[in-house]
């Protein structure tokens, strides 16, 4: 039933770029008919843009070898065009509506290095294709597979130290870095400890000192505690 979305996906992009309410309504009415939740409609393997499912992505507590190598991921490493395209799509498909500029909101943040369903490009791609049960829509078959890979690349870039460092102001995700091959070589790869949030500093003085309170350096930072068990080694 969801197969028909493949055929309209190009039309859909035109509608999106024009932001024509009428056209968007037509398309989205069709989209709505294809349930976002997992377990409905076509399986990913049936979708023409998606060949095969990544194996064993949900195995908890495994350091390396979470998934077999996915040859499709290779072209997205060290690829600034893919990151830039992904950043654009991230806004076009309303990903930023839930995940903000990487900091989250309705959906989880994507910049803390903690990954429930895995941090490798192939795993992120799989999450985009299949959706996840707490509200993440399944995009497989609804938008071109190449765009899903570009989105995965951008999403992966959000928690890279280079991305976060590239922007000292309050929306780091607007200046994404390329994803190095190294980021995918070890599933236990994590950002340096100095990227943890400084929640441990002492509050000085009375009320309204919020600005002063966040100036301490990184000497007494606690380790970040929200890492998923299957994706992070000890910090």
């Amino acid at each position: 039933m969801c197969l028909r979305f493949h055929s309209i996906s190009r039309t859909r992009r035109t509608a999106v770029s024009r932001a024509s309410v009428g056209a968007a309504l037509l398309v989205t009415a069709l989209l709505a008919g294809c349930n976002h939740g997992p377990g409905h409609g076509a399986t990913p393997a049936e979708q023409p843009d998606h060949f095969g499912v990544v194996e064993s992505a949900l195995t908890p507590g495994v350091g390396k070898s979470l998934v077999s190598e996915d040859p499709r991921a290779a072209q997205y490493y060290d690829n600034p065009d893919a990151v830039a395209a992904g950043a654009r799509l991230f806004a076009q498909y309303n990903c930023n509506g839930c995940h903000s500029s990487g900091g989250g909101g309705m959906g989880p943040d994507l910049m803390d290095g903690g990954w429930i369903y895995g941090s490798r490009l192939a795993q992120i791609h799989q999450t985009l294709v299949e959706g996840r049960p707490n509200g993440m829509p399944a995009w497989g078959g609804k938008i071109p597979d190449q765009e899903l890979w570009q989105l995965a690349t951008y999403v992966r870039s959000l928690s890279l130290p280079a991305t976060i460092a590239a922007e000292a102001d309050d929306t780091p995700g607007q200046r994404p870095a390329v994803v190095p091959r190294a980021a995918d070589e070890d599933a236990g790869w994590t950002p340096p400890a100095s990227t943890t949030n400084d929640y441990g500093s002492t509050i000085e003085g009375s009320a309204y000192q919020g600005r002063a309170a966040s100036t301490s350096s990184g000497t007494d930072q606690p380790p970040k505690s929200n890492a998923a068990p299957n994706s992070k080694g000890p910090t």
Partner: protein, 626 residues
């Protein structure tokens, strides 16, 4: 723009732990906002000698010591006639028992007390607990787990909150995040009926507390950030069957506008304004959701309810007044037919939902006692509205404002400040109040003894840039980059005791964080409320003096209540559990390094994790004689 020096500094920030990105922005300067005296307006000067402001007995019957609905009574005064706890003895208040809710998301509900049993509904997954108040430690009588669809979490704009239930005719009635209204038998905890109203596939959720009155259950949907078309329904209290459904946008027949409809102002008069005040078809995804407080007026046999923001937030995508969003309807409870409507924020550009509470009072105005409703709006103004006709008698700012320069009481329309109009491609800075408003959903209380409204509210402003957004069903439809910041003075919250007759504050106290809890005020002039950093406080309702405070396990964003226990003594109950839009940086999956996270709230609240952690506990206090 980005020089090598900038990059060098950015690299240094990497090793300094990104302290800069977690900094709360500087407060907006005082010079950016209007002074309230300049821009408050009323149709007539105060005439306090005519009578005393109070709710009618029909809307606020004598206190029986129970607390059966979140707002205490139909007038929604949140006023307790119990007097055992006084300003003189409140310092001795101690916890009598606590109860872990088993959920650590934002807890916004009021504990409900009926027949010596306490009922609590939690944030998602919306557990309901019944606690036996007649036994030591208030053991659980039953627990009900409605098991809402997990995917509903991902379409709830601002945490997975629930604003409570009500007990009526042997049923506890509440809503679930995935769009159900459920009536439980209070004796057994079994469902009497369940009605599925919302559809999560298009982004609909329900977070509001149903209004139960006159044999009906009134419910509205959430989803103004998802392109969801708002509606407000009445269900049969006995069966859960749908009696009528009124949409917040669209043709008159959908909005239940017919011959009875007599709006006071010309700009609300005309055929199918819910279509013609939008670009073609935009009303179908235009918001106007009813996720706040509805009133049943037992005197005038009328239901009042607000409507939420238009969608998307990007105003350039929806030229027009965007009826019937950001306003208030008066309706016939039996048919749902609209009687009048007033729009607080025509063509809203700042997310100023109109769904905050109304208090139904008899108040002296223009030389006579008038039946009014007082509405404290997100846009920063307190409206006193005559309830029969929908005429605005006065409108005054209660906090720092600059987006609206007073309300024109001849046309009813706000004087919009063009300098704070939002647009695509430009960041408009220092807009006050912020998107969550000078006050959000958390309701005020009113004491007929002091004649004062107790308004716990925010003092925050924002920077806003509109961006083009596409409608994709079930995903956010916002189109704005927002960064919030403290308002003038730097205190992000305030408790204002407001004299509605004199149209000015009697006293104000400051809070570091926005006040996101409601308040309860007692006949002995004690005012209770909680703070986001976890203090539960008692103030002298006449002076604002802090009399007592107790630090609970997590920030408070809920609705405290006052009741008489089986032993005849007065108890004060409140839920802890920080969260909600303002507390997402603690309870949500949010990283404070992105200031635009949680719809821009994180910029202003990034230090909250240093003050409190996620929790969720019932606290019950009393004087220590027991």
């Amino acid at each position: 723009m980005r020089t090598p020096l900038h990059l060098a500094l950015a690299s240094m920030a990497l090793y300094a732990g990104f302290a800069a990105a977690q900094t709360v922005p500087a407060p907006v300067p005082e010079s950016e906002v209007f002074s309230p005296e300049q821009i408050g307006h009323a149709l007539a000067p105060p005439t306090p000698q005519v009578g005393h402001t109070a709710p009618s007995a029909a809307n606020a019957p004598p206190d029986d010591g129970q607390w059966t609905m979140p707002a205490k009574n139909y007038a929604q005064t949140r006023y307790s006639e119990l007097t055992e706890i006084t300003p003189q003895n409140v310092a001795a208040l101690t916890p009598q028992f606590t109860f872990a809710l088993g959920v650590i998301k934002g807890e916004e509900a009021a504990p409900i007390v009926a027949d010596n049993t306490m009922y609590i509904v939690t944030a998602y997954p919306n557990y309901v607990y019944a606690l036996d108040l007649t036994k030591p430690g208030a053991p659980m009588k039953w627990r009900f787990a409605p098991s809402p669809a997990p995917a509903s979490q991902g379409i709830a704009c601002c945490d997975v909150v629930n604003r409570g239930g009500s007990v009526d005719h042997g049923k506890y009635i509440f809503n679930t995040l995935d769009g159900q209204t459920i009536a439980l038998d209070v004796k057994t905890g079994k469902a009497v009926w369940r009605t599925q109203l919302g559809n999560i596939a298009i982004g609909e959720t329900i977070t509001m507390a149903p209004l139960v009155a006159d044999g009906k259950v009134y419910v509205g949907n959430s989803g103004g950030e998802m392109g969801v078309r708002g509606w407000f329904v009445a269900l049969d209290e006995n069966t859960g069957k749908l009696l009528w459904k009124a949409y917040g946008t669209g043709p008159d027949k959908d909005v239940l506008i017919g011959p009875e409809f007599k709006p006071h102002y010309p700009s609300d008069q005309g055929k199918d304004l819910g279509v013609s005040s939008w670009p073609p078809q935009a009303w179908m995804i235009g918001g106007g959701n009813m996720w706040g407080w509805a009133n049943y007026d037992a005197e005038l046999h009328t239901v009042y309810h607000g409507t939420g923001n238009p969608g998307p937030w990007n105003q350039e995508q929806r030229p027009g007044d965007n009826k019937w969003t950001t306003g208030i309807f008066a309706r016939d409870p039996n048919s749902g037919a609209a009687r009048w409507y007033y729009q607080y924020s025509p063509h809203d550009e700042h997310d100023y939902d109109g769904i905050n509470e109304q208090l139904l009072l008899d108040m002296p105005f223009d030389g006579k006692m008038q039946k009014v409703l007082i509405h404290i709006d997100r846009n920063g103004y307190i409206y006193v509205i005559e309830r029969n006709t929908g005429t605005v008698l006065s409108a005054d700012p209660f906090g720092p404002v600059n987006s609206i320069q007073g309300i024109d009481l001849q046309t009813g329309r706000p004087n919009m400040n063009p300098a704070k109009s939002t647009r695509v491609g430009q960041t408009v800075t220092n807009i006050c109040p912020t998107a969550s408003g000078a006050k959000d959903w958390n309701p005020s209380s009113f004491s007929p003894k002091t004649g004062l409204l107790y308004i716990g509210h925010e003092n925050m402003c924002m920077d806003w840039e509109d961006v083009q957004v596409n409608y994709i069903a079930g995903t956010p439809y916002v189109g704005a980059l927002v960064h919030m910041k403290p308002g003038p003075g730097g205190n992000r919250g305030e408790m204002t005791a407001w004299d509605p007759v004199a149209r000015k504050p009697a006293w104000q106290t400051k809070e570091n964080f926005p006040i996101w809890s409601s308040s309860v005020v007692t006949a002995s002039d004690v005012l209770f409320y909680g703070t986001m950093d976890g203090w539960f406080k008692a103030l002298n309702a006449r002076t604002g003096e802090l009399l007592w405070r107790f630090k609970v396990d997590s920030g408070i964003i809920s609705q405290p209540v006052s009741y008489k226990g089986p032993d005849g003594h007065q108890y004060i109950a409140v839920l802890s559990g920080v969260g909600g839009w303002s507390g997402a940086v603690v309870s949500g999956p949010v990283d404070p390094r992105d200031g635009s996270a949680a719809l821009g709230m994180v910029a202003a609240m990034s230090d909250l994790p240093k003050y409190t952690t996620a929790g969720g506990t019932l606290y019950v206090f009393a004087l220590p004689q027991h």
